[in-house]
């Protein structure tokens, strides 16, 4: 079934995209077309269309409540969990319409996520990080140990927790918890990682480490990150999308967005003159 859907969608997609963004049409890892999203009666996203390139970091910026988190959460269908959410439009990842395929599990294994607030489980640090791999059926202790260590190192938290892996993860400070959350997502080695202000609770040191990490991961992974920190967006991202009231106002190379935005509102926002 999937194949037919894929085939037919591809054509639609190609057709659409060729009008907009010729050279990147075939490489787009994630392709969003005309996405509308409603929370019950309230519309939160308006005709959002954007192509996210593979092995790049895409930053989503915009004022609070503009729909960044909402958009991010459609990419791994986390909004499915909320009652009364209606979605129209198309989202394709690897040329597959994620709302037509029914394999949400595969989607979410492929598209990892780090949330705005740390949401560790009431388990040990080790079990938190090993959670995803275990659920995929990895039982081997050595392998798990390896995954957990790598992931924690990757999230720049290994040294702080290596002696207390078996203690509750909820005893950590906010920043520490958030970094374990990142480790937990990394442990799944997803293809795409969605991050919703992952560093908003981190100190500059950890933030830098995570930024470095993101820069590193970019080699293999596609990353979409929501951030309120302009500098961060400027530092780490390749492309930036500016959201306002549920619409994408401008989407371009990060350097363009910050140095020569086309839209007045973008300029106002990135220079802090907005509102």
């Amino acid at each position: 079934m999937n194949t037919t859907v894929m085939g037919s969608n591809k054509e639609v997609r190609k057709g659409k995209l060729s009008q907009m963004n010729d050279q990147s049409a075939d490489k787009a890892k994630i392709s969003v077309n005309d996405l509308d999203l409603f929370y019950g009666e309230k519309q939160a996203l308006y005709r959002v269309s954007l192509d996210i390139q593979e092995k790049e970091v895409t930053a989503l910026i915009g004022p609070s409540g503009c729909g960044k988190s909402t958009f991010l959460r459609t990419l791994n269908r986390m909004n499915d969990l909320i009652d009364g959410v209606k979605i129209s439009g198309e989202i394709e990842i690897d040329n597959e319409n994620i709302y037509q395929s029914s394999d949400v599990i595969k989607l979410r294994t492929k598209v990892g996520m780090v949330f705005q607030k740390p949401n560790l489980f009431p388990m040990s640090i080790f079990d938190n990080v090993a959670y995803g791999p275990r659920m995929q059926g990895i039982k081997n202790k050595k392998e798990l140990n390896k995954i957990v260590e790598e992931s924690l190192r990757g999230a720049a938290i290994w040294d702080e927790v290596k002696d207390r892996l078996k203690t509750s993860a909820l005893g950590l400070s906010g920043g520490q918890q958030q970094r374990v959350c990142i480790a937990r997502a990394i442990a799944m080695k997803p293809a795409v990682i969605l991050m919703d202000e992952p560093t908003s609770a981190l100190d500059p040191i950890s933030t830098l480490k995570v930024e470095e990490l993101i820069a590193n991961m970019k080699k293999d992974y596609t990353i979409v990150i929501v951030t309120h920190n302009m500098q961060q967006a400027a530092r780490i991202s390749d492309k930036t999308a500016f959201f306002l009231n549920g619409e994408v106002i401008e989407y371009d190379e990060t350097s363009n967005i910050f140095s020569m935005p086309k839209d007045q509102r973008t300029e106002d926002y990135v220079t802090g003159r907005f509102g």
């Binding site: 791994n76 986390m78 969990l81 009652d83 599990i105 595969k106 989607l107 979410r108 294994t109 492929k110 990892g112 996520m113 949330f115 607030k117 949401n119 560790l120 489980f121 009431p122 388990m123 040990s124 079990d127 959670y131 995803g132 659920m135 995929q136 078996k166 203690t167 509750s168 959350c181 937990r184 997502a185 799944m188």
Partner: protein
């Protein structure tokens, strides 16, 4: 003024707790005071005899049978029902209906359950007056207790846990038994403890379905007498309050042991998570 109100409320809180504890201490004290004289090895482990006070070992065994069987059936069904209501169902007519049904079940007097069990399980399903017929009846009685308490426990699990788990590509089922149920465990357990209390304390529903045979049951298909039914008959027919109280002491000890083991198990479960 605010101070005064605060202090008044605080006083009421202390007073209520004191009252509760006092009442409970008096009741337990009374039961022990009345029944303690009869407690000895023969009374507890001896075989029943219709003359004198008789041993109550067959009733102890029957009581444990009913607790175990009813909980074995009611706990999974109850928890899964609650899971359905909280985690799966879309709020709608069906859920309202189920919820209404469970709530109504809590209010049905046990005598009606007894009559129903006697007609449905004993006669229609041809189980005869038996431990199994009583246990099935008890299952229906405690089901709403387990459902309701489990539902409340599930509600207290932060949505962030669900999101966190699902975002890692796990199924609802995996999320359920790895994250949600473990963090809801204490609440579920208190529901199970309440249910044990209800099972142990039941008389009307049991004597109509299991009967009052004062002998060691051969199997769960035997008719038999639980401790509570025993103390009920004794109170009702011979007015031997000492004997009823002595049986009460044994019941209290059994419940105590069950509660402690339930708590122990939950601690164990929690440890296993770390």
């Amino acid at each position: 003024m605010r101070r005064f109100k605060d202090n008044l409320l605080r006083g009421l809180l202390w007073f209520s707790a004191f009252l509760t504890v006092a009442v409970l201490v008096i009741i337990v004290g009374y039961i022990f005071y009345k029944g303690f004289r009869l407690i000895n090895f023969d009374f507890i482990f001896g075989d029943y005899s219709p003359v004198g006070h008789g041993g109550i070992w067959p009733m102890i065994v029957t009581t444990i049978y009913t607790i175990v069987i009813s909980l074995l059936i009611a706990t999974p069904i109850g928890i899964l029902s609650a899971v359905y209501l909280q985690e799966y169902a879309k709020q709608g007519r069906l859920v309202r209906m189920i919820r209404f049904a469970t709530e109504s079940l809590t209010g049905i007097p046990s005598i009606i359950y007894g009559l129903f069990g006697a007609v449905f399980f004993v006669t229609t399903l041809k189980l005869g007056m038996s431990i199994i017929a009583a246990s099935l009846t008890l299952t229906i009685i405690v089901l709403p207790v387990i459902i309701r308490t489990t539902e409340e426990a599930l509600k207290t699990v932060p949505p962030a846990y669900r999101e966190g788990s699902l975002a890692l590509g796990t199924t609802k089922l995996q999320t359920l038994y790895k994250v949600i149920l473990p963090s809801a465990m204490p609440g579920i357990l208190s529901g199970i403890i309440l249910s044990m209390g209800r099972i142990v304390g039941e008389s009307a529903a049991i004597f109509l379905t299991a009967g009052t045979v004062a002998a060691m049951p051969d199997s769960i298909f035997s008719s038999a007498r639980t401790l509570t039914v025993h103390s009920y008959l004794v109170t009702q027919e011979s007015g031997d309050i000492e004997l009823a109280a002595a049986v009460g002491i044994v019941l209290i000890v059994i419940i105590l042991v069950l509660n402690l083991s339930a708590t122990f198990i939950s601690k164990k479960l929690n440890k296993a998570d770390y």
